[in-house]
């Protein structure tokens, strides 16, 4: 049945005037061209546009990088001067932990700070490094009791003077633990250790020791 209808339709189509067939052919060609363009050429063009966009981004990155490195070149004399200053101030020295602890203990004793507790540890995490240097970071904490807040502050001051140019203060606290009363005065009178406050300080010690020194 289908074949018969198809045959009839084909006969009808064949019987159409030539001008209609020509117009139908032109329409079919146009549609095929547009479809082909939509399916193939548009994709190709889209890829080319993406490639251009990527090249544009690469150029922008290259220009930014070039500008940065040019600025570094221009700034090099000033940077070099600061570098020399930092070297002079001892930024490239390493932390002598034992020496610092001994110094803190002596300073605490001199300022009547009892129950000194210290903690010193290498900070976890990746460190910046260059061909010659590596950043070294230690976290240092001192906690003690005391009679006067001025003693505690003086102790902190002495520690910072020892680590000048290397430290970044993280936390410092003073807390009054008890008031002055008759028992406290009696204990002081008898020469017994008395603590009226709790003092704590925590800071980062940062240095940039040369890698060869670290190896030694």
């Amino acid at each position: 049945m289908v074949d018969i209808n198809l045959e009839i339709d084909i006969k009808k189509l064949k019987a159409l005037p030539l001008r209609l067939k020509v117009v139908a052919g032109v329409i079919a060609f146009d549609l095929a061209f547009l479809l082909l363009g939509y399916m193939v050429l548009d994709d190709i063009m889209a890829e080319r546009v993406i490639a251009v966009e990527q090249a544009r981004n690469q150029l922008a990155d290259a220009r930014r990088q070039n500008a940065d490195i040019r600025k570094q070149l221009d700034d090099y004399p000033a940077l070099r001067q600061r570098y020399e200053d930092s070297i002079t101030k001892g930024l490239t020295t390493s932390l002598d932990r034992l020496k610092l602890i001994q110094y803190a203990q002596s300073q605490a004793a001199a300022r009547h700070l009892g129950d000194l507790h210290f903690r010193m540890a290498d900070e976890a995490g990746d460190r910046d490094r260059s061909a010659k240097y590596r950043v070294e970071t230690d976290r240092v904490a001192f906690e003690s009791g005391g009679l006067l807040d001025t003693d505690a502050v003086a102790f902190w001051d002495s520690i910072f003077s020892q680590t000048q140019g290397h430290y970044r203060l993280v936390e410092a606290s003073l807390e009054r633990t008890q008031d002055v009363n008759s028992q406290v005065l009696t204990a002081i009178r008898h020469g017994n250790p008395v603590s009226l406050l709790k003092a704590k300080i925590e800071f980062q010690w940062i240095g940039v020791p040369p890698l060869d020194q670290e190896a030694k």
Partner: protein, 576 residues
């Protein structure tokens, strides 16, 4: 002159001023427009894309045929071909050969025309066409030339057929052999029924039904009566002209006799004596006068010559002033319509018209698609060119930038201390310097701000970024509370460089319980002076026990009544 009954727009377009202006503008434009578009229009007409300005109307009757040639709406020529004309079809063909693309409207004014009213059942909008065709085939099963037309809103339809007599068969053969696009067959009485309504007196407010009968004389057929009511033809009759010459009185008698016999027939279709019947006669002036003298069973009589009627209908001059023939009038009336009401085509004629229509639409679609395709192709080509050139330019610029970078890198590599080492040391020094804080000075500032009877219970200095960075596993500290007094510490943008939390204690004073609160407020002001530029906020203030104030707090605060220790908490923040 008789009254004019054309609609307002019809009359407006016939206004002399408008006609003169249009004619003048047309004459002015004709020259340049003709020169500019004339060749293009001629070529388009040759391909069948534009309708030819020339049209023909062929009226076929039992006594001959009339071919009217029109240019726009103007009659160019008219020719009558009678039975005695030698090679009548050849003569007609010679006229039609003048322009093969000129459309030909064919109107049948023959005696044998079949009309039948029918009531269609209510069906869906999309099934009406199929139903109409089915009913048409049932009504006129043997006829080839037939058509149906629904009218009114009550599902009524009129079916018409043109029996295929020997004469009609010859005409079909002739028409199908023509290269012109042929629209036919139209039924002249059916198409011209509206003329009666245009020429007759206007319908009043009377309740009785208005019937109109148009009587015209054609060379092709004879005297034609067309009965019309409610805007459509109900009956048409043809009285063939006697062979002998008739006086006007005889013609009037003939018209009266035919009218009376038609009325007896129309009565079967619903006409009654109480209804209004308007008679419109188009005939020679003498016949008009003779008809006016007769005692006719009608409500009104309107008698014009075809010449007068043509002017009234806006068709122009359709006949000599003393002529009684209305062939050209009917032809022009039909040609003036946008579409004929009914067309009874043969299959080849219908297919030819359909093909013409499809070709026009198809050509327009093909032209539009081709233009679009070409535009698309040009656009793609331009895009391809642009992307290619842009890519080349960008690649060259990228190579230049990279080359420049390499040169600078080579310069930097030539320094005794590499840039990386310098930057590492400098950045580290910057990081240390950025967080430099003089904690001793800060404690002294706090001490300066404190007044008598105020003691620091707890002071905590903290750099949040370093605390958080040092212990990422620790939960982030809660956001600072909104200060109960002063500037909200954490509000606003910027990194908090450091914060100092102070808990201070005020000596109890049972005699003046409101003093700690005042002291706390004063202390906040002093802290603000000591730490200019920092955000100072009071996180907690001493409780005010006065009766005029509201006391509010939690269980932990309940013990702090009058006479107990009062504390306040402050938060000092510095933002970068």
């Amino acid at each position: 002159m008789p009254r004019r009954r054309r609609p307002i727009f019809g009359r407006l377009f016939q206004h002399p001023l408008l006609s003169q202006t249009a004619g003048r503008a047309s004459r002015l434009m004709q020259g340049p427009l003709e020169r500019m578009f004339g060749p293009i229009a001629a070529r388009l007409r040759k391909f069948g894309l534009l309708e030819s300005v020339t049209r023909f109307v062929l009226t076929i009757g039992d006594e001959g045929a009339t071919l009217v040639q029109l240019h726009g709406q103007t009659v160019v020529d008219a020719v009558f071909v009678g039975p005695e004309t030698e090679d009548g079809l050849g003569l007609l063909r010679s006229y039609l050969d003048k322009d093969h693309r000129a459309g030909l409207l064919v109107a049948a004014d023959v005696l044998e025309q079949m009309y039948r009213d029918d009531q269609l059942p209510k069906v869906g909008r999309f099934d009406r066409g199929k139903l109409l065709k089915r009913r048409l085939d049932v009504t006129f099963p043997q006829d080839r030339l037939k058509a149906g037309l629904p009218f009114g809103s009550e599902g009524k339809a009129i079916f018409a057929s043109l029996p295929e007599t020997e004469a009609i068969r010859l005409w079909i053969e002739f028409l199908e052999s023509l290269p012109n696009p042929v629209t036919g067959f139209c039924l002249m009485p059916f198409e011209s029924a509206e003329i009666a309504g245009e020429l007759g007196p206007a319908a009043g407010a009377e309740e009785s039904q208005v019937w109109r009968v148009l009587v015209t004389q054609q060379a092709t057929s004879g005297f034609r009566q067309i009965f019309e009511t409610e805007g459509r033809m109900v009956v048409t009759r043809l009285a063939q002209r006697p062979a002998a010459e008739m006086s006007p009185q005889t013609v009037a008698q003939l018209i009266e006799r035919e009218l009376r016999s038609s009325i007896s027939y129309v009565k079967r279709l619903g006409y009654s004596e109480q209804d209004r019947l308007d008679l419109i006669v188009l005939a020679e002036p003498e016949v008009c006068r003779a008809v006016e003298e007769r005692d006719l069973p009608i409500s009104s009589l309107t008698a014009y010559t075809p010449y007068q009627a043509g002017l009234l209908l806006g068709l122009g001059e359709v006949a000599p002033e003393d002529s009684g023939l209305s062939d050209v009038l009917h032809a022009l009336w039909l040609a003036g319509k946008k579409h004929p009401l009914l067309t009874l085509p043969t299959a080849p004629l219908r297919d030819r018209l359909l093909h013409d229509h499809i070709f026009k639409v198809g050509f327009a679609a093909a032209a539009a698609l081709s233009l679009f395709a070409v535009a698309d192709l040009v656009s793609l080509g331009l895009d391809a060119f642009e992307t290619t050139t842009t890519t080349d330019v960008l690649e060259k610029q990228l190579a230049n930038e990279r080359q420049a970078t390499e040169i600078i890198k080579a310069k930097l590599a030539g320094f005794d201390v590499p840039l990386d080492d310098v930057l590492l040391v400098d950045d580290t020094a910057d990081a240390i310097a950025r967080h430099a804080v003089d904690i001793k000075a800060m404690v002294q500032q706090v001490a300066t701000a404190l007044g008598p009877d105020i003691f620091v219970q707890r002071a905590v200095f903290r750099v949040p970024s370093l605390v958080a960075g040092a212990a990422p596993a620790r939960p982030a500290p809660p956001p600072p509370k909104l200060g109960v007094r002063g500037r909200p510490a954490a509000a606003g943008g910027g990194e908090v460089l450091y914060e100092l939390s102070l808990i201070v204690r005020f000596e109890p004073n049972p005699a003046a319980p409101h003093v700690p609160l005042e002291q706390a407020k004063a202390l906040q002001d002093r802290l603000a002076k000591q730490f200019p530029g920092d955000a100072i906020s009071a996180v907690r203030l001493p409780v005010n026990p006065l009766r005029s104030q509201v006391m509010e707090g939690t269980t932990g605060d309940a013990g702090r009544g009058p006479g107990t220790v009062q504390t306040a908490e402050y938060l000092i923040q510095k933002k970068g």
